[in-house]
Symmetry: C2
Subunit: 150 residues, 2 copies
Amino acid sequence: MEIRRLKSLLKKNKHYITKPRLRLFAVLQKHPALTVNQLILLVPKHDQATVYRNIALFEELGVINRLRLGWLTKIELSDIFQHHHHHFTCINCGKVITLPDQPAIEKNIKSMVDKQGFKAMDHQLEIRGYCPRCKELKRTKSLQSEPVSS
Amino acid sequence: MEIRRLKSLLKKNKHYITKPRLRLFAVLQKHPALTVNQLILLVPKHDQATVYRNIALFEELGVINRLRLGWLTKIELSDIFQHHHHHFTCINCGKVITLPDQPAIEKNIKSMVDKQGFKAMDHQLEIRGYCPRCKELKRTKSLQSEPVSS
DNA sequence: CTATAATTTGCGAAAAATTTGCAAATTATA
DNA sequence: TATAATTTGCAAATTTTTCGCAAATTATAG
């Protein structure tokens, strides 16, 4: 259970284990990537100020990452709590797709970083373009409609 | 001159070539990456509403990209107007470093995307960690101070 | 389990960031 | 250079994020 890891992380850093924090975490576990606003809506028992404060705390502790997906900033659990992965965002339909592991890319990144004398803690790769479905639509009918909201 | 490309892009899409747009573009050419607020401050002749509206337009036309750098969202000219590159952000001092070309990574990304049946339009990679200087500091004195603001 | 001390929450209000309506100014075109 | 269309600047409205403080919750020691 990942929840144990969260709890020990909070304790280690002298923060209380509270209901809002646990609920927030549970919501993040259920959803792949959420905007701040979606998060607020999904934790209706708690005030938005509480959500903002705990997002900040989770960032500080490295529990979550902020992603730039399309024009939106979204939040997801960091690699500590879920398998490391990259994202593809469809420009047309807005869908966010988790990409399969790419060991070669990871290796390349690591070796470049080492060569430059950096110490990398994490990284994120976002690819934007057309998903297979929208690519096809574009080829045939042409892309006329507005992007679907996420 | 890249400015010609901007002008033809505007014309092609039936937008006017205006002073605010040209000034905005010039500022973006001078600086590697700016927050919206920095942009507003650097174009003091024009209203912030104008800046926001033109940021939106530039996004639409693919003139600029939004980057997640550290906790900030910044704006920079897209690959159409400058050489494609990735970023390293130092967690400690906040510095943003442009990484050298990495053909292997580019190739890996391309082949993965093709294999999955996507059509990629662009991508961005951000690596976070410690720059050589802060890495060293960390090893010796330990990292006590607040990150320097960008 | 209970009392105590410390942190966190909820709420209202404030501050910051972004968007909008509309008259005046700017730009394209012919 | 006149005309039509878009864009700008300004003020006001929204939306998003932050803050202060009393009340509630959580940790800890007994």
